[in-house]
Amino acid sequence: MSVDGSLPDVVLTAPPGPARPVAGHQANPAGPTAPSVFQVRDLSVYYGEFKAVRDVKLDIYEHEITAFIGPSGCGKSTVLRCFNRMNDPIPNARVEGGMYYRGIDVYGDDVEPVEVRRRIGMVFQKPNPFPKSIFDNVAYGPRIAGNRNKADLADIVERALTQAALWEEVKDRLHKSALGLSGGQQQRLCIARAIAVDPEVLLMDEPCSALDPIATGRIEDLMEEIQQDYTIIIVTHNMQQAARVSDRCAFFTTEVNEASDTRTGVLVEYDATENMFSNPSDERTENYVTGRFG
């Protein structure tokens, strides 16, 4: 694929009908014509012979929070892991179709996966701090990138922890083990660790599913606060959460393949969150968001 700015098989056509402005309880700082960060075109993912997700097509816009929702097994996490090539280490996983970052093929030949992941950070379902000190956790990314300057690192760590709303809680025990933190604090530490490498996008894979409601609330607040600096994609199985935090929402579901008795994920609908919840255009979406299914 070429990286000269043209997308040979990608057509960013205007959709039929007027684009509805994204309105709602949270302002969309970038507005409806925010630049597109990712262009996903007919993306399919296979595990061996098994087709996990097929033909996903959507755009991700700058400084928006995009939520992927849907029943379990619908492939939303699988798609999420394509954005920063975290499917690469999984044996047998194969990606077909287009995944473009600002017009650049993420799976292109001359793309360095390590650079992709530095630019596109990720926060996982289960808080996964390293068994090191809080400081060393946050400094891990800058250190492997070659930053050995102590003052510099201290600066980065403070900034990241402040941004993740954790600084006040941990500033006196930076050199204590990160495993001593509560689950919610660990997850915010993981967010701090991810933003310490100065990514442009944050992928969040059900970041609150292991947390209690209070810790969940803090993470959601945090997402809104950092939205002005990052583009965020969040996978969640919690519809209320999607409604609360996201600007735009993609609903995935599963199709049963009669022949092989397997399930393949498909993207059903992608729209401004408000529309998705108040006026979905697909019956399946409506059933899901009104709780009649899944």
Binding site: V3, L12, Y101, R102, D282
Partner: protein
């Protein structure tokens, strides 16, 4: 497709960042990082070859040198009683290996499986079970020569004769802990629901164990037992301590000296004579073929077992 996505908008494709630099994913790693990654991978691949090349050399060496010697006469005729003499055979050692290993298996496998059943089905949490488990771990580490010394002390000295059976005892002691541990691992893999289903139908533990648990774990147990047999068949040190030496076939395990392929390889390998060395190769070839068949069959059974479980 597009109709499903009414609000995909025409979005500008901004390809330079706020400072005016074009976005790119091709940024290179620093040479140091790339080198370190490459070097680590190379070292790992090299490690594999460091183990694989000697294996190929050993097998190739034994097969070329030993394959030439082995024929029907080699496998059946008596061992020449002079190391100097050239020619076959290894008949007594072949018979001895089969008999001694077979007798050892008959003792160790049932005992080991029963022991494991006790550990896992009757008292997995009891202190006694913990002690037995620790003991089997310790026994696994006991050097085979020490096991030979032990059988010599408690058996050979008592009955004043070195026999094939003494060898079988020593091998059984070596196999026992392996059989116990692999069997217990396999029993752990049998889902608790199966046991509960059987118990709920009114079966007692012994019946549940014999009709439900052991059949479910059988492929795994078989494979573990075969690996133990393969290991025992190649043991040398205890055999040369307790079975003595014979040049004639002795099919009686309880009377008279006996010998095995492994013991014959040891005795012949240190001789400077071509005849003896050729017989050592022939015996090694025979032994390796035997042991590899057991190992490979065991692996096939366990891999099929694993696939079934998935």
């Amino acid at each position: 497709m597009t109709s499903r996505h009414p609000s995909i908008q025409t979005a500008p494709l901004v390809q330079t960042d706020p400072s005016g630099k074009p976005y790119s994913l091709t940024a290179h790693l620093s040479p140091r990082r790339r080198m370190a990654d490459f070097a680590a991978t190379t070292v790992m691949v090299a490690s594999f070859f460091a183990a694989a090349v000697p294996l190929v050399l050993i097998i190739g060496y034994v097969f070329t040198k030993g394959g030439r010697v082995v024929d029907m006469a080699f496998l059946t005729e008596s061992i020449p009683n002079s190391y100097r003499r050239v020619g076959p055979g290894m008949g007594p050692a072949v018979v001895g290996t089969l008999l001694i290993t077979g007798a050892a298996s008959l003792m160790a496998i049932p005992l080991g499986v029963l022991g494991a059943v006790y550990l896992h089905e009757y008292g997995p949490k009891r202190r006694f079970a913990r002690v037995v488990r620790f003991t089997t771990d310790v026994m696994t580490g006991v050097p085979s020569v020490v096991m030979g010394v032990f059988v010599y002390v408690v058996w050979v000295l008592r009955f004043r004769s070195q026999t094939g059976f003494a060898g079988a005892l020593a091998l059984a002691c070596l196999m026992l802990p392996i059989v116990v541990r692999t069997t217990e691992e396999m029993l752990k893999l049998v889902p608790a629901e199966l046991r509960q289903a059987s118990t709920a139908l009114g079966a007692r533990t012994w019946r549940t164990t014999l009709t439900v648990v052991l059949p479910a774990a059988l492929p795994g147990i078989t494979s573990g037992a075969m690996l133990a047999v393969a290991r025992a068949a190649g043991e040398t040190a205890p055999i040369i301590l307790v079975t003595g030496l014979t040049f004639q076939t002795n099919a009686n395990l309880f009377e008279g000296n006996n010998t095995t392929l492994a013991a014959q390889i040891f005795r012949n390998a240190s001789q400077p004579f071509d005849g003896a060395q050729a017989r050592a190769y022939g015996a090694a070839f025979t032994l390796i073929v035997l042991v590899f068949i057991f190992t490979i069959v065991a692996r096939l059974i366990s891999s099929r077992f694993n696939r079934m479980r998935r």
